[in-house]
């Protein structure tokens, strides 16, 4: 992309330590990195390398033990708990491995939930939720409960929910981990199309063919960045066709 890019999220020597008795677990041990508007990152690495920890920090669900994290230019470490909540509801979208829809709410109520916590107009929220339900192809299932949907459909609802606040970044921790391969493809196609429309996406995955879809792949090990590959470099390494 030729246009000048603006950093939506920037990590500067970010550390996350957990104290387990006398032992200190260094889940993230000095990570510096910046994400541009419209980026598409896949985070990879062995189990316990700190992928989820990184994503949780990016998602403002946690504060770093050291270093700085700037989201949209604001240092997250200085924010109050309420401000973190507001940041999540206004600027971030989450997609989880296990869908994480709320069982007692209908599809449409699940989709509009982030806007409810912003306290805006309910009719506008409802209207936008219907638009997104249509976008993910579930306009006929808006009054259904999550339990009445397939896994793939539930994940579509979750993606629509992540999109409702026009987030700076969508964070997805193994979004296709619970899905069969055909459905995986559908969900990834949906995420690809969102990215093409300009949404920044950061996802964690264990699977190479999912990582191939991203523009950058970040390899983590022991809480440190091993390297960042571009899609072209990676495809070459895997002996795949490099798209024109």
């Amino acid at each position: 992309m030729a246009m000048a890019m603006e950093a939506v999220a920037e990590l500067i020597d970010v550390r996350k330590y957990y104290q387990m008795g006398t032992q200190t677990v260094r889940a993230l041990n000095g990570v510096s990195l910046s994400f541009q508007q419209g980026d598409y990152y896949a985070i990879m690495g062995p189990s316990g390398s700190g992928k989820s920890t990184l994503l949780n920090l990016l998602g403002c669900l946690d504060r770093p033990s050291g270093g700085r994290y700037l989201l949209g230019g604001i240092d997250v470490a200085t924010l109050s708990d309420n401000a973190l909540s507001d940041t999540r509801s206004r600027r971030l979208g989450f997609v989880f491995q296990s869908f994480n829809l709320i069982a007692q709410l209908t599809v449409i109520e699940n989709i509009e939930l982030p806007l409810v916590y912003q306290g805006g107009s309910t009719s506008q929220a409802r209207h936008r939720a219907y638009e997104l339900a249509a976008m993910v192809g579930l306009e006929t299932r808006t009054d259904h409960r999550p339990a009445q949907l397939s896994g793939g459909q539930q994940q579509r609802v979750a993606i629509a929910r992540a999109m409702i606040n026009d987030p700076l970044v969508i964070l997805a921790d193994e979004p296709t981990g619970n899905l069969d391969s055909a459905t995986q493809g559908e969900i990834m196609d949906l995420l690809d199309s969102l990215n093409q429309a300009g949404t920044t996406i950061i996802l964690v995955t264990h699977e190479d063919d999912i990582a191939h879809r991203a523009r950058h792949v970040l390899n983590l090990a022991d809480g440190r960045i091993v390297n960042i590959e571009t899609a072209a470099e990676r495809r070459r390494r895997f002996g795949l066709e490099v798209e024109a």
Partner: protein, 451 residues
């Protein structure tokens, strides 16, 4: 980046108010939806609150009813009266009993005069003299009551009413006019029933010791007699009333009665003097004055002062204690209901840990989570409270029919019912707060990992 436009002006404020209203309605709806995940659990929890709130209102209503009943009973004795009663003095020794033929004790006409002349603010003094006599109608014998000689104003002092206001009369001043003997009688309700089970007694005659008395009136039933019996005053409806003057003329001061072979003789001039003072507030002071006047002439202590006001106060006091006890029982039920709420809410919060994590991730503040679970607790308590209030409101109808309460009255006060809603809400908030607080303070990441 789009900035949130600040709504200013009246329209904006109106919109805000409306939005807040909508949001609360929405939160309530969501709360109900969540509760319906476990309808049975919700119903049982609401039931526990129902029991608590219902118990409070019903117990207070029963307490109120009991208090009302007790006060009514004693009020019929008159809060402004003092009853002086002749009592047999404690026996000094056996020899004194043998010396004279009759035991002589009690109030005298001298006492009556002394009271009238020395104690101020006395509106009425009513002398009462009675005899244990059999009363006959034809061959029907009535020996259950007393023959009471008294004056016209006795009826007013004792709150007597005629059974039929249009027929018959009470003993009049003419009946007691000096030097006259009038053979008229007024029957207490019980005496009338016993002597005239079938006929109308008015105009008929009853016989006392070979003398025939014309029945001129029948008293209405006295209603509740527990207050009188509590004060050991006897049942007035069993008596036969004749003019005091007549009784004194025929029998003098001596009461010789022979019953069931046991011959006893007593000389009692006046059985009772009823004193009515001008104002309720001075009853106790005048009772002390009366006691001073009488004690000088009655060193043996052969009289007794009964102050119904004191009894009313005692009745009020014990009714109040009873109400406090009942309210405590209700309160404990309410606390038990609250603990039920807390228990269920804690279980709910644990069960929905992941939901809390999801909501937090999507941007819910801690306060949103607190509000959400508090509203669920509130919906439960208000639902239970609503039915509790209904049970309370209808308690005057069903409480007397419950055998356990033995015809206990229940009186519901609007203030207590109105109070029940805030109390129910308070229970919901107090006992729902801790579980809600626990939910809000979960670590979102931990909560999301929860299975």
């Amino acid at each position: 980046m789009s900035s949130v436009s600040g709504n200013t002006g009246a329209i904006g404020r109106l919109g805000d108010a409306l939005r807040r209203r909508l949001r609360l309605a929405r939160a309530m709806r969501m709360g109900i939806k969540s509760l319906l995940l476990h309808p049975m659990r919700a119903a049982l929890t609401a039931l526990s609150v129902f029991c608590g709130v219902g118990a409070v209102i019903v117990m207070l209503a029963i307490g109120e009813g009991a208090s009302h009943k007790a006060q009514e009973q004693f009020r019929t004795l008159g809060a402004d009266t003092i009853i002086i009663h002749s009592i047999q003095p404690p026996k000094q020794d056996d020899s004194s009993n043998n010396r004279s033929f009759a035991v002589s004790y009690g109030l005298t006409y001298g006492d009556l005069e002394r009271i009238r002349s020395t104690v101020p603010d006395v509106n009425l003094t009513v002398p009462v003299r009675d005899l244990r006599k059999d009363v006959w109608h034809g061959s029907r014998r009535y020996s259950d009551g007393r023959v009471v000689g008294t004056v016209s104003w006795y009826a007013a002092a004792q709150h007597f009413r005629l059974a039929d206001e249009t027929r018959g009369r009470w003993i009049s001043d003419m009946d007691n006019a000096a030097g006259r003997v009038n053979l008229v009688a007024v029957l207490g309700a019980n005496a009338a029933r016993e002597l005239f089970p079938l006929e109308d007694p008015i105009g008929q005659t009853v016989q006392i010791d070979q003398r025939y008395f014309r029945v001129v009136g029948v008293m209405a039933d006295q209603g509740d007699k527990t207050a009188r019996s509590q004060l050991k005053l006897g049942d007035l409806s069993k008596n036969v009333y004749i003019p005091l003057q007549t009784l004194m003329t025929y029998y003098g001061p001596l009461d010789i009665s022979a019953r069931s072979g046991n011959r006893t003789a007593e000389e009692v001039a006046l059985r009772e003097i009823i004193v009515k003072v001008s104002d309720m507030s001075i009853v106790e002071a005048r009772a002390r004055a009366l006691d001073n006047v009488l004690s000088r002439y009655h060193p043996t202590g052969d009289y007794e002062l009964i102050v119904p006001l004191k009894a009313i106060r005692q009745a009020e006091e014990s009714a109040r204690n009873f109400t406090i006890l009942l309210a405590a029982i209700g309160g404990i039920s309410l606390i038990v209901g609250g603990i039920g709420i807390m228990n269920v809410m804690l279980a709910t919060v644990t069960e929905r840990t992941r939901e809390v994590g999801i909501r937090r991730a999507l941007g819910a503040r801690k306060s949103h989570i607190v509000t959400q679970f508090l509203i669920e607790a509130l919906v439960l308590t208000l639902l239970g409270g609503l039915f509790g209030v209904l049970a309370g409101l209808t308690s005057p109808y069903w409480v007397p029919k419950v055998p356990l309460f033995k015809d206990q009255e229940a009186i519901v006060r609007v203030s207590q019912v109105l109070l029940a809603f805030p109390i129910a809400a308070g229970v919901g908030i107090i006992f729902g707060l801790y579980p809600a607080w626990r939910a809000a303070n979960m670590d979102p990441i931990e909560a999301l990992r929860h299975e």
